[in-house]
């Protein structure tokens, strides 16, 4: 029962996907900087920093 690659077209290593989930980040919103549009951990971190920034601004 070979299982095809999931339809998820977002490219990120398993640990990065986990990190994003745990941080409540939807990977589709993150700007990738890795090769082939791969999302790196730093990209998620940058997104988090940005989001935090936006949040504190809106206060």
């Amino acid at each position: 029962q070979p299982q095809g690659v999931s339809s998820r077209e977002i490219l990120a290593a398993p640990s990065v996907r986990k990190f994003a989930r745990e941080s409540g980040v939807f990977l589709g919103n993150v700007i990738p900087t890795g090769p082939n549009g791969k999302i790196l951990r730093e990209d998620v971190e940058r997104f988090l920093a940005g989001a935090d920034h936006a949040q504190s601004e809106s206060h």
Partner: protein, 469 residues
Amino acid sequence: MVVGELTEEVDVLVIGAGPGGYVAAIRAAQLGKTVTVVDKADLGGVCLNRGCIPSKALISAAHHYEAASASPYPGIETTAKLDYTKVQAWKQSVVDKMTGGVKTLLKGNKVNVIQGEVFFSKPDEARVMTETEGHSYRFNHCIIATGSRPIELRSIPFSKRVISSDEALSLDQVPESLIVIGGGYIGIELGQTFAKFGANVTILEGTDSILPLFEPQLSRLVQRNLKKYNVNVVTKAMAKSVEEDETGVTLTYALGEETHTVRASFVLVTVGRRPNTEELGLDTIGVKLTDKGLIDVDEKCRTNIPNIYAIGDIVPGAALAHKASYEGKVAAEVIAGHESAVDYRCIPAVVFSDPEIATVGLSETDAKAENRDVSVGRFPYAANGRAVALNADEGFVKLIADKQSGLLLGAQVIGTEASNLIAELALAIELGATLEDVALTIHAHPTLGEMVMESAEVALGSPIHVVVR
């Protein structure tokens, strides 16, 4: 419920101690939960008792028997004598070792183990029937992991000589002759194993090829190997009825318009497996099923009933032990409050046939069906020094990658140790590796893994060890 009977409170109740359930129980306990796991049969489930482990033990014994019966090495003359009763005892010792391990692991992780059959009485309550009594348990969370069982053919019901994989794995003798109905991976693994042990084997397959879920390039090599043991493979054959007597069974099957009969000591029916969902009382509590009778779950392994989770063979997806275990971890982690989810790009699948088959991700056929532009790289075992030095130069490694980006999408391996070569390829897909990543990674010489690197180079157009035309 018996009047005055106490209802015990449990935090996490796991139903079924197969590779789904026992792994879920251990992970939940590791994360601080108090866990009770209930199984009506043996710890380890189908996988350890009547599936993966005993089948692979017999397969490896058959391989050793075959290699010693007719040595593939010139200059090493060998003989082999089979005492199948002892092989069975050894197989059982392997099973006992692994199930004993599960028992130790559950204990070591302070999981409470109960033997009994579970039925849901309420959405947060289950009744456990042991041989002598019944008990009710109120749970905060429940994980259903009751697995699957062999499908029985209505026209060819199980009997003394019409058996499932359960009995086939425990026969105390090698049957003189065996008819296998169903040429999927379980039928092929077992049919080929008994053929190696000397049985006269016939395999009936309904579609036009054995291992129909795999590409013809793969199944063809297995089919060729089956010829070595005079296995009679009949494709497009529909088993119709069976007559059993003292000494054997006569099976009638249709081949197009024609009707044929074949006689053997046993008929082994391996036409698929059915999820164990019917007798759990799922309807009582309203658990939603798919139209195939599987439990409907989301990516956190949650059913439609709050706090009831389901994993393994009873939920959609490949019915494989490693999928069950993966989901077991996810369910346990979600229950413990983690942000886990079923979130893999690929699941490898292995057939322990001879030669071994291992696949992961997209095949070339899938890619064509999806109209995807892909690069394909194929490298033969015959051009790999290690394979030749191992006297095992049959097979190939094949990679499928996105044409434009080079991203690895899938891989198929057939040949010796395919089961171990697929690990690198699954990791490559998970990590979003490209053909270049694989080709530029140094692979030790002389190892079979070099074929992975070289097939990436083939796909890239500049392989060293095959000539490009």
